[in-house]
Symmetry: C2
Subunit: 427 residues, 2 copies
């Protein structure tokens, strides 16, 4: 437990919600089904420290308290709900959890499924009469999506020192609020944001359950998988500069139109990724300047997202796109700049922990994921693992994301088995 | 002359500026070179009824008054400076002029060149001892660019009844101010905005001098051209709907990415325009939704601007792009909608007036323009014509727009010749 000044036990919320008796993952998910709905985009918009995400945190604190867990919020806004808080000498706690924030117009399950499943896993362990021999905790990490402040897994990065707290404090949301101001309003002291080696040192292993964000389990006909890797992932910003001009008066032959070059780059990204099995290359954001209907753009920025399990393939895909982009810009008489904004190598989850999960869940297939997760960030500091639960649409970061009730329950049972196996039975 | 309550003679501004003796177009342009500079964008930002545009109007009133012209502001905020105001029975006035407002970050010449050249043309006629046999006036039209209230040529549209005054009154600028409020602050009575058949009826012909917004005169090595047509011009909005999904977890094979289809459409627009000499097709605005770096877009909107002198060619270009767009969307498993947002047929300037200008300026080539102008709007109500002055950069709606001093002077001389020829010499 951190001794930082912002750490404290959160008071239990009194309330009339149903207690854990007879609870299910689907029942818990139904309790929060109306929080943060986004009528414009569909699905949910639950930015970190928004009213909606705050309501979800209160709900988690209430649910954890009903289960007799001791809840604390640490200096980085991470919630910890302890079944037997560890003494200062214990460095073997088993922790599970996920996040409650969402992308704009996201699905119901990305994040909350892992939190609800953790609560139900505790119920299942209690029903079996388990008293764990190691400390056990549920954790909720803030700003996993990076949708508000632009840095994914911000809470776990701060915890483990993977982001400079000075940089974190000055991050701004789309309205211009700094992370320092927003955390202060949320009751934290922004001066104490940052690495918390004591909190990290308590943890022996971390297991995150998450809705699958692809079609692996659909194709395998299985409800739950064990995670193997998180794909290496980079973001590059490409800026193409041409000649802004009048759309009506400028002959086609006289144009240096950066949007025509950008169009070729979008297609080059698709083609470069298709040359390597399992590679992904995406342009989801493109901004022409000035962006007028009757104006040839003077410049265009586009953002390139590339991922592959083999970091050398990621580099090769980007190199090929860069070469094609330079050619497309030159054909159009434009200049081009490519800048790396971030690059994370592939995360291989702890082999020993993954092997242990394989023993505990012998039927579960082993799957990689292309999405980033707090478990991937924490992997730099301690043994981590993931469980994935089948998503029958295969669609993620979208209202179409889904999990069947039976699969959600199977996921919680699998997580309970893993926690029991890792934490042991006190004798 | 309108008898509307907002009409009145504007008092002459006393001031220490240089009189018309020895004036030149370049000298007049230098007088306003510091008005409305835009340090952020470069060039000038002179939105209608802004401080900058108001200062330019005051400058025009001053310059016209120094030349002994009677200046009035009519019910629509159009300034008229009369050399011999017509009696109620005269319907043959010769009018020239242009506008003083600019696009954001525009050049110095788009608009003001036509106003300064009109003032200098009056000087040249006076120097020749001309007394015109027809009434002669200079006009300044507000909101030609449509940059503040979104409707181009708003002044001339109101004058000729081509826009419903109720709609005009409720137009809003980017800060949310209505056109009614802004015109009231500028001293007009917004109740009297609207068609003014009496003011239109006075005019026998209108000739607008304007900086060329393309490279026609560069290629011909000539300083001044007579306008033939304003290209027909349409705007279409294309919406492509695919499958929003996670950029990291979605295999390339499973994607229905509307931005990949949009990229093909941008290229199809270029190719379709190149199939027809003189056709222009531009995508300058493209908006992916949700527009996140790590999200495959669920939909993309793009705006297509197509122009050609032959309206049948414009239709053929759009039809071809539409067919290619449907194919590109189908290949990507996306749906596509194309909606016409506006369509203006090609304006052919009055043939008799154009023939007369050809006689008066036998060396001037005849050129079409791709840009809209008040002369194009007024063409629906009376004979209009245009003169274009060489722009050595060929660039428009940009700080790079330029006119050499000698060419500006040649333009004013050509305009003087046209006015003399049209207005006749009183004997």
């Amino acid at each position: 437990m951190s001794a930082g000044p912002s750490t404290g036990t959160v008071p239990t919320t009194a309330g009339g919600r149903a207690g854990p008796a007879g609870a299910s993952v689907a029942g818990l998910m139904a309790e929060i089904a109306d929080v943060g709905r986004d009528d414009a985009r569909g699905g949910y918009s639950r930015p970190v420290y928004s009213v909606a995400e705050h309501e979800l945190r209160e709900w988690f604190i209430d649910q954890a308290s009903r289960r007799g867990l001791d809840v604390e919020s640490d200096r980085n806004g991470i919630l910890w709900a302890w079944w037997d808080a560890p003494g200062a000498d214990r460095r073997d706690a088993v922790v599970t959890g996920s996040h409650l924030d969402s992308v704009p117009g996201g699905g119901a399950f990305d994040g909350p499924l892992g939190v609800a499943s953790a609560l139900i896993a505790i119920d299942r362990l209690r029903e079996r009469g388990l008293t764990p021999s190691k400390p056990l905790a549920l954790a909720v990490f803030p700003e996993e999506e990076g949708s508000r402040f632009g840095v994914a897994c911000l809470g776990s990065r701060l915890l483990t020192g993977l982001i400079d707290p000075d940089r974190a404090r000055t991050l701004r949301d789309p309205e211009g609020n700094t992370f320092a101001d927003v955390t202060a309003k949320a009751g934290l002291d922004p001066r104490f944001l940052g690495p918390d080696p004591e909190a990290v040192g308590r943890i022996g292993s971390f297991v995150e359950l998450h809705v699958e964000q692809g079609r692996g389990l659909i194709d395998l006909g299985q409800p739950v998988a064990v995670g193997s890797t998180i794909l290496g992932h980079g973001r590059w910003r490409i800026t193409i500069t041409g000649q802004g001009n009048h759309a009506g008066t400028t002959l086609m032959e006289d144009r240096r139109d950066p949007l025509v070059a950008a169009a070729a780059i979008v297609q080059a990204a698709r083609e470069a990724a298709l040359r390597h099995s399992g590679a992904r290359a995406t342009v989801g954001r493109i901004v022409p300047v000035p962006g007028g209907t009757n104006v040839i753009a003077s410049s265009v920025s586009l953002w390139l997202d590339v991922r592959h399990a083999d970091d050398a393939v990621t580099a090769a895909v980007v190199e090929r796109i860069h070469a094609d982009a330079r050619r497309a810009a030159a054909v159009e008489g434009c200049s081009l700049e490519l800048r790396e904004e971030s690059l994370s190598p592939t995360v291989h989850f702890d082999p020993a922990l993954r092997h242990r999960l394989g023993e505990l869940l012998p039927d579960a297939p082993v799957l990689p994921t292309g999405a980033g997760h707090d478990a991937g960030v924490l992997a730099a500091a301690l043994p981590t693992a993931m469980l994935f639960v089948r998503n029958p649409t295969g669609v993620s970061h979208s209202p179409e994301e889904h999990v069947e009730d039976d699969d959600a329950e199977a996921g919680a049972l699998a997580l309970a088995g893993v926690l029991e196996g890792l934490a042991g039975r006190r004798v």
